[in-house]
Symmetry: C2
Subunit: 409 residues, 2 copies
């Protein structure tokens, strides 16, 4: 079975809003053994949607469209699919019931503007939208199946997972697995993968600011064997699988060990505490965060003498360590993290170029501090800083290098 | 002139890494009057790339491809284009010179792995990559032009802006303009746009967690007239144009007025200080941030009596106001912002459902506090909270509602 994925909407076409549905659906389909020809992103224009739909239906049996099911004149998915197959649009009472239910919860009636959302191509089956107003549909025509879902990511995800996925076949011989590493360069991972010389598994390698991810595709058994081999070889550099984030891993470890955390950030500007608090339930282990951007704040909040900052510089191992210790005691937590550096693009010197970042961990009877020089623009330096800080925390909680022995492998 | 944009790479195809090139290039092309048929995202697979390339070249004169120019076996853009037009790949000395120059700067020689990056389709012109190893190319064949660029966003942007854009025609009668609003619902913006009844301008409306954006496309004069009309009608709800962010606008206003800021966040977990410090030079106006996740931190850091928190609840107008005042004095800044709420998915009650957020501003002789109930998941509630906080700050700095009179319009 082959599939083609289309996303419509001016905002995703122009890249103003990240297109999140296509990648999510592609991963789910591939994991089911369904081959995905390509993804397309099309603006709200009937002729263009029809052109891409035609390509999709000629290349694949299954076409999944997200977006274009809203109430305004530029929501064209219903019209495009009906016109392509030469069927009419008709009012569907099931959709009205879902709309009434949705607006009931908000304590009001269905506004007149929403009427367009009751029309669907003749012969289609309605997909309920429990989180929004745009119901979707499934239309089977001969060999082809077209599935239309809301463009809002969490609505699309719910509709796809609950109403579409259970009906898709699970084909043998194709599995997608991802292994996430951090701390190694792409070439280092590539060399290890080449050494292992996989034959029955398709291997892809991708470097991003999070680290290097390895994609494995093939038969279930072969992929699972490859995963085990890679984990052994890459050892503590592997932090997660299949989309797990470092903040999720760290959250689990902190809770398992019953430890609490506070953070003091300078150049990362609060991104570390933001990532930590993206995890629901983080109040159980996150005590407090301080973004001590000015030297005065480092002094008054964290008790770092201004004279020390003057002597060694705000961007220094000493100050990072004092920040970690200071915020640990301020928050009354088991662990403190201190970060100070130069995110750029200005502020760099010959000795401390842009990207220089000191990260420190403090715990009951010790501290650790290290210097990094991260490449990239301001956004990248901030992100890489927090990724390294989270990885240090993970390593501390696991008791692996630099906080313990390399594990037996 | 019509164009088609392709992005290759498993990581963008699977949505593991945001595909940023396609949207950027689409906007630039449209602004030049070039019609973009669609964008596609394809995995690293020769057959699939060829299939989509064929569709692109049959639908448009110009095809722009990003990605697939790296040194590994799954970088296939060179092979795909050469094979499509039936030409050979040949070594190009100009590319070697660029590679040598690039590695020289890093203080080392060109590694053997990089050799693949010297091959280009016969007859193509090399596009230098000043920021990375993947040079691009332009190949003209009959009516068709194929342009291949690096997949790394900052490399692609530099290559496109410096070497491609100057050679593209600037066609009359097509301009793209974006107006960003916040604080209005999509239906409210839609009603105002409908009232104005534009005829010569294509209008698109898009709601996102940032607010509602209006896209205008058409002749330069007509679009500029429409922009003026819309700005008048939407008044203080308009915060920026063409990709400007609220943090940029606020940064400008703070610097113009010479004012400083500190933030105290609970449910937004540091996202507000992260966004504020994404702006280079923010240390000029950002003093400090506090993420007081626990009640104890609200007490010890911001001087809020635990008894008050017990009486009125941590999520309350009183506590938000005390946080704003507390952090203002802690940071010694002109303005303080306090945020407390329930990001969810747990922690909501009947009286204070998930999404309930109090935001407060404190300045030398006054405070302001308001209650919001934001829809969406945890990530969305956090983002909408910071968007509203930044908009309140913008309004305060401009002296408009709720901090002053509605402007004459």
């Amino acid at each position: 079975m082959r599939a083609f994925i289309m996303s419509t909407g001016d905002e995703v076409f122009l890249g103003e809003v990240e297109e999140k549905n296509g990648g999510f659906i592609a991963k789910e389909l591939i994991s089911r053994g369904i081959d995905v020809i390509a993804r397309a992103v099309v603006e709200d224009n009937l002729e263009k949607i029809l052109g891409v739909l035609d390509f999709g239906l000629k290349s694949a049996e299954l076409v999944i469209i997200t977006g274009g099911l809203g109430p305004t004149h530029d929501d064209l998915t219903r019209e495009a699919v009906a016109s392509y197959f030469g069927v009419n649009l008709e009012i569907r009472e099931e959709a009205r019931e879902w709309l009434v239910k949705f607006f009931d919860k908000l304590g009001r009636g269905v506004p007149p503007l929403q009427d367009r959302q009751l029309f669907f191509p003749q012969g289609s089956e309605i997909i309920p939208n429990e989180l929004g107003t745009a119901c979707g549909f499934i239309l089977e025509k001969g060999e082809n199946i077209v599935i239309a879902l809301s463009g809002v990511p969490w609505e699309a995800e719910r509709m796809f997972t609950k109403y579409v996925l259970p009906r898709l076949p699970r084909l043998e011989g194709n599995t997608l697995k991802r292994i996430h590493t951090t701390g190694l360069r792409e070439a280092e991972v590539y060399a290890k993968v080449k050494e292992l010389g996989f034959q029955d598994v398709k291997v892809g390698i991708c470097a991003s600011p999070s680290g290097v991810t390895i994609y494995l595709r093939g038969g279930e058994e072969e992929v699972s064997e490859a995963v085990n081999l890679l984990k052994k070889v890459l050892d503590t550099y592997v932090y997660g699988e299949d989309g797990e984030t470092l903040e999720e891993i760290v959250a689990e470890l902190l809770q398992k060990r019953g430890l609490t955390l506070s953070t003091a950030e300078s150049c990362s500007g609060g991104l570390l505490s933001h990532r930590l608090t993206n995890i629901s339930g983080s109040s159980r282990y996150f005590r407090c965060g301080v973004v001590s951007y000015s030297n005065e704040a480092k002094g008054s909040l964290l008790g770092i003498p201004i004279s020390l900052i003057r002597d060694v510089g705000a961007v220094s191992a000493e100050v990072a360590e004092r920040m970690a210790k200071g915020v640990r005691s301020l928050g009354g937590s088991d662990i403190g993290i201190g970060i100070t550096g130069i995110a750029g693009p200005t502020g760099g010197t010959r000795e401390k170029p842009v990207g220089t970042v000191y990260i420190s961990l403090a715990w009951d009877d010790g501290t650790y501090v290290e210097k990094n020089v991260f490449p990239g623009n301001r956004e990248m330096v901030k992100f890489r800083t927090t990724q390294r800080a989270l990885d240090l925390l993970r390593r501390f909680l696991l008791g692996v290098v630099p906080f313990g022995q390399e594990r037996d492998s």
